[in-house]
């Protein structure tokens, strides 16, 4: 699956099915600090992702106070 990451924007290729939470854990990304969007739609942590999915992992943390 093609995975788009942000800050900075970049793409990586991940092979094989896995659940959203497993993908975040594998990439060492906080579940609390990211949303996962599959083919343009938000998906929850236990959604199963497959090779033909287009995934965006969007960070949600901003630094201003």
């Amino acid at each position: 699956m093609r995975v788009v990451l942000r800050n900075p924007k970049r793409e990586i290729e991940i092979v094989g099915k896995r659940r959203v939470h497993a993908l975040l854990d594998e990439l060492q990304l906080s579940r609390e600090a990211h949303l996962v969007i599959r083919n343009g739609t938000l998906v929850p942590g236990d959604a199963q992702l497959s090779d033909d999915d287009e995934i965006e992992i969007r960070p949600v943390i901003s630094g201003g106070a």
């Binding site: 800050n7 906080s30 609390e32 949303l35 929850p44 901003s62």
Partner: protein, 322 residues
């Protein structure tokens, strides 16, 4: 297509988001309903707004400010936006465009103030000229211009997009230092006083993951990239620490902040260190404890300084971090 396992707590249709702090998953419709309910609860519970208020929303082009503006309009309030061009290179150019597009698509009024055009400086230059961290010069500049625009425009309330994560991180920092003055002032509503408008934070019951999800579900385009000057700041470090706790113990951030507001803030009432004897700044007329307010001091030094591009400061910061 692979079906999601999670089902919405309300309608049992496929969920789009899991919210461990609510021990629940939600579909798009019921997630939107949850957000509306949380914001209404904050507005009503803290007496933030009335239907008669003239509201000005501080808009950055990021998810929180666009989400709060969208939510207020959806809930039936009349609200204009205020965007401040801070001159942080491409970041500011892009953020301004998101704010303009949002307003134009919905027929809303967006007031714009460009700091360099109106006051002769930008944030990277202010940071270099004052030798302060960029977020400090930025915060002082924004607060002053928000206050001034709200008062000049006859608005009765200034709304900011501070969310639960923002407030919990600030509370965490103030608690680490036991800074009683700041703790006593950390409230979701600051009443109008001595030349300052009333300020409210309707998103204090939503996490930033929830405000970002609101934008995704509602189709709101916002600036996702982080401010190049905020990278690695202390506020972000506190957020990371709290998120680590939250992942292990869902609901911790909400309990930390909302229980503080309910149980501790009343005990601290009266301990806020508000400066006595405010007088008018001799330059701009804003309330200040001295002759010249903090904003005018920054403006004086920064406008006399050669412009500093944001890339220069970013490089310097990276070098210092190595």
């Amino acid at each position: 297509m692979v079906a999601s396992v999670s089902l919405c707590r309300v309608c049992k249709q496929p969920a789009i988001i899991d919210l461990p702090r609510h021990h629940a998953n939600f579909c798009a419709e019921h997630f939107i309903e949850l957000c509306r309910r949380q914001v209404t609860k904050a507005i009503e519970g803290f007496d933030m707004l009335t239907a008669e208020d003239r509201i000005l929303v501080a808009v950055s082009g990021g998810k929180d400010s666009l989400a709060v503006w969208d939510l207020l309009i959806e809930l039936g309030y009349q609200a204009d936006g205020l965007y401040i061009g801070l001159g942080i290179g491409d970041y500011s150019d892009t953020s301004g465009q998101y704010a303009r597009d949002f307003a134009n698509q919905r027929g809303l009024t967006l007031i714009e103030i460009d700091v360099r055009a109106t006051h002769g400086y930008d944030i990277p230059t202010a940071a270099a000229a004052t030798r302060r961290v960029p977020c400090s010069a930025c915060g002082t500049t924004k607060r002053h211009l928000f206050d001034q625009a709200a008062l000049d425009g006859g608005y009765t309330v200034l709304v900011t997009g501070h969310n639960l994560d923002d407030e919990a991180a600030v509370l965490f920092g103030n608690t680490l230092r036991w800074d009683i003055g700041y703790l006593a002032r950390q409230l979701p509503v600051l009443p109008a006083r001595d030349g300052f408008p009333k300020k409210v934070k309707p998103l204090v019951r939503l996490t930033e993951r929830e405000t970002a999800a609101w934008c995704v579900v509602r189709g709101i385009d916002y600036l996702i990239e982080e401010c190049p000057m905020a990278e690695g700041n202390r506020h972000l470090q506190y957020k990371a620490a709290l998120n680590s706790i939250e992942q292990q113990s869902p609901g911790s951030k909400a309990a930390f902040y909302l229980n503080f507001i309910e149980h501790m803030a009343p005990l601290l009432a009266g301990q806020a260190e508000l400066p006595d004897g405010l007088q008018e700044c001799t330059r701009c007329g804003s309330p200040t404890p001295g002759d010249i307010c903090a904003f005018c001091r920054i403006a004086e030094r920064a406008s006399a300084h050669d412009p500093v591009p944001v890339e220069f400061l970013a490089k310097k910061k990276k070098k210092a971090q190595r």
